[in-house]
């Protein structure tokens, strides 16, 4: 078995193992940590689709994370206050059904991604990085100044939303929901990476001229990847907001964008399971180092610096070596 596949399996086992062990030992806090890691992993898998496969350095992916979060927040808020979101031209009411919320989060993120992507992909290099950041900042400041949904203070949702047949307030059950979604996303991304689209997209990242020479336009590939990427990260945002039962503009900040990038790079850019390792490492560091010192982010910074300078391939690069060609 290839080292990479082995590491993938180990990671999955680790997630399930930690959650189950925490459940048996009745440590709900640890289950919550595992859930957080799973959600961050989804966000990272989303970014990795555009960044790792497409080479698109988006420094504004928090916009999708935040859109997903606010989709949850707005729908649940109107449900819990029994007010409609829109009365004219047709009535839209809030909802507390998770599948519906996820659907809205995904669709809204995808639509916004079409807009941001179509405009941003007209630039490249550092300009692309900056314009994606700019769009995220627009939404960030908008959220801060819009008082209806809490503005800077954010919005609290009293009770976790509903999933048919499950008690979502039970930590292990919510973990199961998030982790299952993670596995689903990983499956789809894995298939996409090995598909016709994946072959062309990853070729475009390496050499745009070559893709044109075989008759196709990189722009369409990139835009598609960007939209899929945004939709996945949007789903993560909705899950995260539900986990904390709280949504605030911080989800849209560039710090959040940076953190999502950290998940991707810690695990290994371009590896399907990379962000899973990266998110797990990040949560581990936050928990372990945070316990040692209030200023744990200094150590996070140092580790990140070390990885960028000396272990460029992230955890997967260290353990599984150079990426094996998919044959």
């Amino acid at each position: 078995m290839k080292k990479e596949t082995l590491l993938n399996a180990v990671l999955i086992a680790l997630f399930v193992g930690v959650a189950l062990a925490a459940w048996i030992m009745d440590e709900p806090y640890l289950i919550t940590l595992a859930t957080k890691a799973a959600i961050f992993a989804i966000a990272g898998v989303g970014l990795n689709f555009a960044l790792g496969f497409g080479g698109l350095v988006s420094f504004g992916h928090a916009v999708f994370f935040g859109l997903g979060g606010y989709a949850m927040g707005i729908l649940a808020f109107h449900a819990q206050t029994y007010t409609p979101i829109l009365e004219w031209p047709f009535a839209i009411n809030g909802t507390r059904s998770m599948p519906v919320i996820w659907g809205v989060a995904i669709v809204v993120s995808a639509v916004v991604a079409v807009g941001i992507g179509a405009l941003s992909l007209r630039t490249n290099g550092v300009y692309f990085i900056m314009i994606t950041l700019a769009f995220a900042q627009m939404f960030y400041y908008f959220a801060i100044s819009w008082p209806t949904y809490g503005g800077e203070d954010g919005l609290s949702i009293y009770v976790r939303n509903e999933f048919p047949g499950l008690n979502t307030m039970d930590p292990i059950q919510y973990f199961a929901i998030c982790f299952t979604l993670l596995l689903l996303v990983l499956f789809c991304v894995h298939r996409a990476a090995h598909s016709s689209f994946g072959l062309m997209l990853r070729a475009a990242r390496q050499n745009e001229e070559r893709v044109q020479a075989v008759g196709h336009t990189p722009f369409r590939l990139y835009l598609t990847a960007f939209v899929i990427s945004g939709a996945i990260t949007g789903l993560a945002g909705a899950l995260f907001a539900d986990l904390n039962r709280f949504v605030s503009p911080t989800l849209l900040s560039w710090h959040t964008s940076g953190e999502i990038m950290i998940f991707v790079i810690l695990g290994g850019v371009g590896r399907v399971f990379g962000p899973v390792a990266g998110a797990a490492l990040f949560i581990l560091l936050e928990y372990v180092l945070g316990g040692l010192s209030e200023f744990w982010q200094i150590y996070l910074g140092a580790i990140l610096l070390g990885v960028v300078l000396f272990a460029r391939g992230g955890l997967y690069g260290l353990i599984a070596g150079r990426e094996v060609a998919h044959d």
Binding site: C188, R191, A192, H194, S195, S196, F197, G198, L199, M200, R202, A203, Q206, N207, E209, R210, V211, Q212, A213, V214, G215, H216, T217, L221, T224, E323, A325, H326, D327
Partner: protein, 251 residues
């Protein structure tokens, strides 16, 4: 005379005060190898870029198989059958040899927006890819990473990818560049047979290859075609001799 596959009509391009292409008219006929030669800085690369669509001419037009392609993108022209190889190998370096060629076959087939198929296990694509690799002699290297290939092998791979496109014409920019004597000989033999699949417009500096292969030769100097003709005609053309050798020299 059968219709030319590729027609370049009156192409002109200036960069500021420099006229890189000055009213160039050329064509490429079925079954021929048409070599484009000229001293450094003559504007050969600029011309190729205008044919493939990477550069827009200031005036003039390009006709491919009777169709005006002057306003089409590079990708669109590639889809119509312009098979191009690059002066500096332009391949997906992290991919294996097979992946690069499958990519070409996939590009030709179209419909790249499929997300759930296993492209490297697609029997049709693999067949086309392996045929192309066999033609250029790289079939034993299919699992090698492209970045690990030698310079000559990369050239071969470029040609293989071009083959998968089932091109109606080849545009080759200095394919001999960097090849040793043996590699050049092999490529010359290969190109000789290739012309029957599709005509080749060949930019080259290697005069042995040019005189061995070319049915017609066009000479480009300071952005202008100063002569077009058979090898013999070009060899004895006074203008060409002075352009290459200076005034009053015997070859």
């Amino acid at each position: 005379m059968t219709d030319p596959v590729l027609e370049i009509r009156g192409i002109s391009k200036s960069f500021g005060g420099l006229k890189a292409s000055n009213n160039i008219t050329l064509d490429l006929r079925p079954g021929e190898i048409h070599a484009l030669i000229g001293p450094n800085g003559a504007g050969k690369s600029t011309l190729i870029k205008q044919i493939t669509g990477n550069l827009t001419p200031d005036s003039g037009s390009i006709y491919f198989n009777g169709q005006n392609v002057s306003h089409l993108s590079t990708a669109a022209r590639a889809r119509l059958g312009m098979g191009r190889t690059f002066q500096i190998s332009s391949l997906a370096m992290d991919y294996t040899v097979l992946q690069n060629v499958v990519m070409g076959a996939l590009g030709q087939r179209g419909n790249i927006f499929r997300f759930f198929n296993s492209v490297m296990k697609d029997a049709d694509l693999i067949k086309v890819a392996e045929d192309a690799l066999e033609q250029v002699g790289l079939e034993d290297c299919r699992t090698f990473r492209t970045s690990d290939l030698s310079h000559g092998q990369r050239r071969q791979l470029e040609v293989a990818v071009a083959l998968t496109l089932r091109p109606k014409a080849f545009l080759m920019d200095e394919p001999m560049a960097g090849l040793g004597a043996e590699g050049s000989q092999r490529l010359i033999g290969f190109l000789d047979k290739l012309r029957h699949q599709a005509p080749i417009m060949l930019v080259e500096h290697d005069m042995d290859a040019v005189f061995a292969l070319a049915d017609r030769i066009s000479v480009l100097v300071y952005g202008e075609i100063i002569a077009t003709g058979s090898a013999e005609e070009i060899r004895s053309n006074a203008l060409v001799r002075s352009a290459y050798l200076g005034e009053g020299d015997a070859a």
